[in-house]
Each structure stands twice: as C-alpha cells, then as structure tokens.
Amino acid sequence: MTKEAILGAIRRGLKRGPLPAEQQAMLAGRLATHPRHLIPARSRLPRPDQVALFIRNVEKEFGTVERVPDLAGVPAALAEYLAAQNLPSRFVMAPHPEFEGIPWADRPLLEFERRRAEATDQVSLQHGWAAVAETGTLMLPSAPGRPTTLNLLAETEVVVLRASAIVGAYEEAWDRLRAENQDARSGGFMPRNIMFVTGPSRSADIEQTLELGAHGPRRLHVILVDDDLAALPMGDAVAPPPVALPGGPAAPGD
C-alpha cells in the first residue's frame, strides 16, 4: 500500500522506526493543546484602539468601513452606500438568522433574496463571523447561513460585522471557533471552508503592478455595528479603564 511505502520511506530517511508510544502521546498532546507562539504586540490594545486598528487596516488594504449604532442602522447605511457607488439596490443576502431582525421595511427600495450567490449578482450582503484587527482581516466560516459564494461572485461585497466580534490576533479567533462551533460531520469545530478576507480582490501579475478587481469582488465594504460599549471610540461613551493585557505595550516608565 502506498501509504505504508511513503511512511516507510520517511522513517528510513529519518533513520528510525515508528515513533515509540510515549513520543506519539506527546505529539498527540501538542495537537490537543495547540500551544500559541509569539503574538505580535501590535494588536495587544484596549478595545477602542483594537477596533480603530481594524478599521485602519481595512482601509489600508483598499476596503471601506462605516460604523452604525445598531442593526437597525444597517438598511440606511447600505442604501446610502449603494447609491453613492451608483450600484443597483438589489442584492443577494446571507440567509443568516441575525439578519431577520433587521428592519428592512425602513428602506423599501432595497430588494434582496436570501440564498447563495449566482454569477449574475452584482451586490452581496454577507454576515461577518469575526475579524482580526492585526491585519484588518474578516473571518468568514461557511455555514448554511453564510454561503461561501457570497464572498466571491458579486462585484461588491458588503459585510455586516459586530464590533464585539473583532479580536486582536488570529489565535483569539481560532479559540472562539473551537469554543463555539460544532461541525456535525467531523465531530470537530472546522466548517467546510473558512475564508480570511483582507480587502478587495487584486492582482499584480501584469508588470508586478497592483490592480484591484481580479476574480473576486472589486469593492469590499464593512458595516460595523457598534454593539460593544467598551469598543466605542474614547469620548463617545464612558470608556472603561484600559485593561493591561499580557504582552501589551509597556506603559512609559514601566
């Protein structure tokens, strides 16, 4: 059997037989505990700064962000964005339960269908599961309520993201996924697909010069719902005292 042949060739190269049981147990332990490595200090910030870092990074990567106070603000923000970009007010929407409570009737001109995306869709509205401030990256795990095609086929992708879903580093997002997601098929926590999206699609294949709008969306717009009081910009709310995070930037004189 080829599998045994390949594993045998590997062991011959490494000049040993199969690993002894206690070594295997140690490696299985490493898989189960998945230790973290160094996490860059740049995202170890108080909540408002973490959200601000996320926004800065999305904008640096040619995406756009608009903050709204709650889910009820989404229809107006979306309608105005589409009008400003000269886009039609029809869109395909993620069939996510969270979107059902949005008062769409406030903007009767918006037309939508809840389904996966098709090649003819021009605008998609996706549900943001999490986002990583470190690089301005959206994390979009596939689910019945979050089809992957919504990230790919339309020229314009709009993502509704709760501020409370923004984490500093990727590792925090993995831990949240491990804790919250259950995959019936594998018994694990990984869905079929997770896309990490950082800005709109692009290519530098023509003379190593960056051009936006390759095969995926040309525009990526985030509607950020401020559901996290602790994450509001300082001054907008009574901000809690900044928490000293492990590995965070040392205070002057520290």
């Binding site: 059997m1 599998k3 060739a9 062991r11 996966r116 098929r185 692009r202 003379e207 190593q208 095969h215």
Partner: protein
C-alpha cells in the same frame, strides 16, 4: 513532467541576457518586491523572532513527519474527504485523471500550484481529452502562450504589458479587434470576463496547498485574486495537490507561518484570501464541492530527509530568495531550466530530478548570501548550494579543466609553506604584469572568470599573509 533544460544553463543564461523583452521586464519588476518586503518587515518588530519560530515549527514537523501525516489523514477522512497517497509523479497524474474521469469532467479549472507544474498535470489531462484552464491571471496568459512560469509567485514575471495586449488580441478573437487597452486594468477586466465563463463551466477544480493542518485535516490556499477560491468552491469536485512536507501540526503553527509568508512574498501583511478547506460540503450548506480529494505526493521528498538537504523541506515557497538574487535578476526564471528557479530551485531541483542534469545550477550563484538573509524559515541556501557543488565534484561531473585546477589548489592548500611561496610568486608576477594598468581584462587559464569582470592587479605590498605578519609586528611594538 516538465522537460528539463538545466544542462543548458549557460546557453539559457546567455540567451536571457541578450533578450531585450526579458531584460525590460526584469528591469520593470526590479525593486518592487524588495521595497514592499522591506516595508512589511519594518512594520513588524517581531519579524526576526518569527523567522526562528517558523524554522522551529518546520523542523519539528519534519522530524515527526510520519506521525503528522497519519494524524492529518484521519481528520480529512472524518470530514468526508479522501486522501490519495502517491509516491511518484506518475502515481499522482494517474489519480488526478481517474478522479476527473469518474466526475465525467470535460473542463477543469486550476488555481496556481507549483506542484501541478512539477507533475505536468495539464499535459496529462489534455492528452486524455480533458481541458485544463489556468485561472490565475499570470498562469492564464502563460497557458495561452504555451509557456511555463518563470517565478513561483509571479508566473508571468518575464512578460511586459505589450505582450499581454498582443496575446489577448491574438487569442480572444470574439472581441472587437479595435478595442483599447488604455490601462492595465482593462487587460485585467478582459481576463476576468473570459475566466468567469470557465469557472461556471468547470466540473472539477484543482488547487495546490500552502499548508495542510494535522489538527483539523484542512488544506490552506493563499491568493490575492480569488481565483483559487472560485476554483475550489464552484465545481462539484475539488482536488487539492500537496507534497508531503506541506503538513504542519496545528492552526497556531500555520498562523505563525502565515505571518511570515505574505510579508516575505509580496510584502503584504496578509494576502487578500487565506482559505482553509476541510472536507466536502456539509448537509445543510448551500454551496461548496460535493467531493474533496487530497492528492498527497512524495515525489522525491522522503529521499531528502536525513540528508544535508532536509533543511530545504522547510521551504514555504515565498520567492523572497529569488526576488533578492542578483543571478535571478539578471537572467530570469526560465534559464534555470525546470519548475523552480532562483536559489531555492538551485537546491531543490538537483534533489528532485538528479544532480547529473542540474550540476550547473548550484554554480548559478554569487554566494552573496542575500537569499539566506531573507528566507523566512532560515534555510541556509548558500551552504546547501555548496554541498551540491562538493557532491558534484566528488562524482566527477565537473569539467576536467576545473577539476585539475582545483586539485592543484588543494595540493597547495594542504601545504601552507608551499602555498605561501606560490602565492607570493604569483602575486609578484601579476604585480609586474599589471603595473600601471590596475586591472586585467583577461588572463590565461582564467577566461571564464575574466569574461564578465576584470581582475584587479595586486597592489604593491605582497600577499595577505605577508601584510598580516608585518601589521602584527607593528602592533606588538
């Protein structure tokens, strides 16, 4: 498998240096990757420590590769995927064809994958009546031109904008002949429209994998265009091609390596799309492939374990080494004569296809060390090239003249007094010959060296040893 022209490296290089189109393209590209990488690295103070972590993660995985591959397979199966173990490129080609046939495939879309180039998947599918369509923009134009990539992350590195326009006009004949390509953007838009049709037609999508994750059974791809995601999401069947050294233990390990990859490659903090695929479509999902196959290929990797070249298996294919290589910058990628160019190719190609055909590659280096200094997983590329040179020498594959000169040198080098005497004599002679000239344009027996540069004539003052001895005496006084 792709034909090997590495034995003709010298001729290839000479032709490359005399090719004005290629030299223009290399000139345009020069510096772009370097500046972007330098900027990204400067913005992450932890970068150097992350390189050490990246090296250690890969070393740990390679030392336990059998364990992690076995664990990986179990997780893929649990998520409803299949793993096909293939020792040789032949095995892998046969498996891919078999999956495509079972799926009744007529059109197969492909994401950019160097292992696919290594295996020659396209030619094999075509020969069997299946149409492969490359969807990465750079790979797409190369397929139109019937060429191979000249760079591992920027396949069309050797082309100029004029080439794109000319090829699109020549081959997209259904579009108005007098259409205008005012901007690069217009070329991109045309390719997008053309490829959209293909994405929707395809029965099977084939991608590579930047990483495989043992903890979860996931394959990871990294792109900026989104073509890899369309390739693996829309067709009914997804095939991921991966060589055995792509596996890493956990999501945390992959995450640390991803922090290095995009910064080293394109100078981005993170690529636009980093995607983790785990198994086939779930019951209630509205999209995604119904079949998920991983073709896991040894293809010569296991032979590298336990040798000097095991370190090369840490490579994450970022291309920083070639972007920073003066030889690559002068001759481009095709001169190297096989799939992998630049310093990583000069080490890997002899390992995978044999030093007998590729003995010139490890010499295609100035040993300036820039490749090693930028490699995100700290592969000692110059040292490994030197190992190949030594092996090649031992195997008596070096041209006779070079060997006898080196033997002569070795005789003197083992006899310090004779060496000092001989160099003193030679320097004296060269000094006399070169007096007033400052440099030699050519020297007997050293034509290969002086062809491309001048040898400075020795300054009066004697050999290094003589000067050193004088200086030491002076210091003691």
């Amino acid at each position: 498998m792709v034909a090997i022209t590495s034995p003709a490296f010298k001729e290839n290089a000479a032709r490359a240096l005399a090719d004005p189109g290629l030299q223009k393209a290399l000139g345009t590209a020069k510096g772009a990757f370097l500046q972007r990488r330098a900027q990204a690295v400067a913005n992450l103070p932890e970068f150097e420590r992350l390189r050490e972590i990246g090296r250690d993660i890969k070393n740990h995985t390679l030392a336990n590769l059998d364990f992690y591959l076995d664990a990986y397979e179990a997780k893929v199966l649990a998520a409803g995927g299949m793993v096909h173990w293939c020792s040789t490129p032949d095995d892998a080609r046969a498996v891919v064809l078999e999956i495509c046939r079972k799926a009744g495939a007529k059109t197969v879309t492909k994401g950019k994958s160097m292992i696919s180039e290594e295996l020659g998947i396209n030619a094999h599918l075509e020969a069997n009546g299946i149409r492969p369509v490359e969807t990465d923009l750079g790979e797409y134009i190369l397929q139109l031109r019937q060429e191979h990539p000249s760079h591992i992350i920027a396949p069309a590195f050797h082309l100029n904008r004029e080439d794109w326009e000319a090829d699109f006009r020549r081959l997209h004949t259904d579009l108005p002949a007098d259409r205008v390509f005012a901007e690069r953007r217009d070329i991109l838009a045309e390719a997008r429209t053309k490829l959209r049709e293909k994405f929707l037609q395809a029965d099977v999508g084939i991608t590579g994998a930047n990483f495989l994750i043992a903890e979860t059974g996931s394959s990871v791809i990294v792109t900026n265009e989104g073509n890899g995601d369309l390739t693996q999401t829309l067709p009914r069947v997804h095939i991921a091609l991966a060589s055995i050294e792509k596996v890493v233990p956990t999501l945390e390990d992959a995450t640390s390596l991803l922090r290095l990859l995009a910064r080293s490659a394109t100078g981005q903090d993170f690529s636009v799309y980093t995607t983790f695929s785990t198994g086939a479509r779930r019951e209630a999902d509205l999209d995604g492939p119904e079949e998920y196959h991983v073709v896991l290929i040894d293809g010569g990797r296991s032979n590298m374990l336990g040798t000097d070249f095991q370190e090369m298996l840490r490579c994450i294919r970022c291309a920083a080494c070639m972007n920073h290589c003066p030889v690559y910058g002068a001759v481009g990628g095709h001169a190297y004569g096989w799939v992998y160019p630049g310093p990583m190719g000069s080490v890997l190609t002899p390992s995978l296809v044999g030093i007998d055909k590729t003995g010139l590659l490890p010499n295609a280096s100035t040993f300036c060390g820039r490749c090693e200094s930028v490699c995100p997983v700290k592969i000692p590329l110059p040292k490994l090239m030197r190992h190949w040179r030594e092996r090649e020498f031992e195997r008596h594959l070096t041209p006779t003249a070079q060997r006898s000169n080196l033997n002569l040198w070795a005789w003197f080098a083992r006899r310090p007094n004779a060496y000092r005497w001989a160099t003193r004599a030679a320097i004296g002679a060269l000094g006399l010959l070169g007096r007033g000239k400052g440099a030699f344009r050519s020297l007997p027996l050293a034509g290969g060296w002086t062809e491309g540069r001048d040898l400075p004539a020795p300054e009066p003052g004697g050999t290094f040893m003589a000067r050193y001895a004088r200086q030491q005496r002076g210091a003691r006084r």
